[in-house]
Symmetry: C2
Subunit: 222 residues, 2 copies
DNA sequence: CCAAAAGTGTTCTATGTACACCCATGC
DNA sequence: GCATGGGTGTACATAGAACACTTTTGG
């Protein structure tokens, strides 16, 4: 499957999803028969009839039955396999899937599986580096954009939102401060409904798509 | 010069430099003979014997005689020329050159020219979009990293540093606040020397390469 | 009535912002 | 001695961090 002009061009995806109290990542079954089961990032050879972004979407459909989700470009790596000429170029995309996505809805479950990021199988070093970078990017973006809502269903409670942040950032947040600030930012609005569970029912909120999602950055200098 | 497998892969660079009181960008003479002089972003077809980053460096050498400078990946575009099949993929790099770089040191001056970003020739829409994105990235990064020092010579006065920020960000900064904060951050250190000019000589400072360059981000939520 | 999660304000500290004058040099 | 840019501190406003109890429901 080598492309003819001395370079293999690939498109890869790193897809994150929140399930229960864990952040999970989508991996694909590698096709290296010598080493038993090997997991890799989902990806495919570039197809010049599609755009890069469409190829990433197609790969999400193929591996996890995901029709649409938040998708952004992560990075383009050259020489992921430095030992092998001709060298390869990999355009990697980064995606977030809402927590209510049904993980069994994969069109071809054999192509992919979800793993908690802190209990995932170890992959080849290149893939590990990409995943580590994707995680860093997720944490950064969570801090200064509203990207966290991409991991939640359309409506959610304030506690669910807070837990999302705590899981991804890996630290506990103060409930009162969290609520005060997110309400002050007015990027969410209450719905009419409540969610019942253990304890007192909680108000459901929804993200306001017209919200200004970026926080003003704190400058290194005034 | 079309690559054989249905996709043309290019590497482009967006290079910024500070000259006098202006931010300048490096452009290349386009080779479209029908439209008179046309300026484009410097770039070349991908060469599979080099890495993407090395190709970007080679292009900087070729267009402006720049041996080494700050270089990071900006974005990978597909379909820069949507009307023409086979479509093209362009990996774009972003570079900053110190102000003391000699603009006449280009090995082949005919290949490139420096233009003030606010008085540059209009380019094709794709290039304009890339340049606009590069400028946005420069401003963002200036605010939360120490990337501004890449635009300055090894030693500089505090006023020069402040002017760098003012030029790139496009706004005036308060001298006392600027100095207090940058010194408190201890990412620069005074040298023994002074620079004389009009008025009182100014202390020269240098960037501390061991400095922690990232400011902690201001969070959207606590 | 008890367990479990939801909801709610105040105080203190740190950070950011606004602002005006004296200093050292060259001409 | 004057024009030019270099250098310095304080007061006020805003934002962030720490902290504990009451409310509502289901079992």
């Amino acid at each position: 499957m080598r492309q003819p002009n001395g370079v293999n061009l690939y498109v890869y995806i790193v897809v994150f999803c929140l399930r229960q109290i864990r952040l999970e990542v989508l991996l694909a079954a590698g096709d290296n028969p010598t080493q038993g089961q090997q997991w890799v990032l989902p990806g495919q050879l570039f197809d010049p009839t599609l755009s890069l972004e469409n190829l990433a979407q197609q790969e999400m459909q193929r591996c996890a039955g995901i029709q649409q989700a938040y998708l952004e470009q992560l990075y383009t790596y050259s020489d992921l396999e430095p030992t092998s000429k001709p060298h390869s170029i990999s355009v990697v995309y980064f995606s977030l899937v809402p927590a209510d996505h049904d993980p069994t809805a994969s069109s071809h479950p054999a192509f992919g599986g979800w793993f908690p990021v802190d209990r995932r199988p170890i992959m080849a070093e290149d893939y590990e580096n990409i995943l580590a970078y994707a995680l860093r990017r997720l944490r950064y973006k969570l801090e200064y954009t509203a990207v966290g809502f991409e991991l939640l269903p359309d409506t959610f409670t304030l506690s669910e939102l807070q837990h999302t942040y705590e899981i991804v950032l890996g630290e506990k947040l103060d409930k009162r401060n969290f609520r005060r600030r997110i309400l002050a930012a007015s990027i969410i609005e209450p719905t009419a409904s409540l969610r019942s569970g253990e304890g007192r029912p909680a108000r459901l909120y929804r993200y306001r798509p017209d919200a200004v999602a970026e926080v003003k950055t704190r400058r290194l200098f005034p």
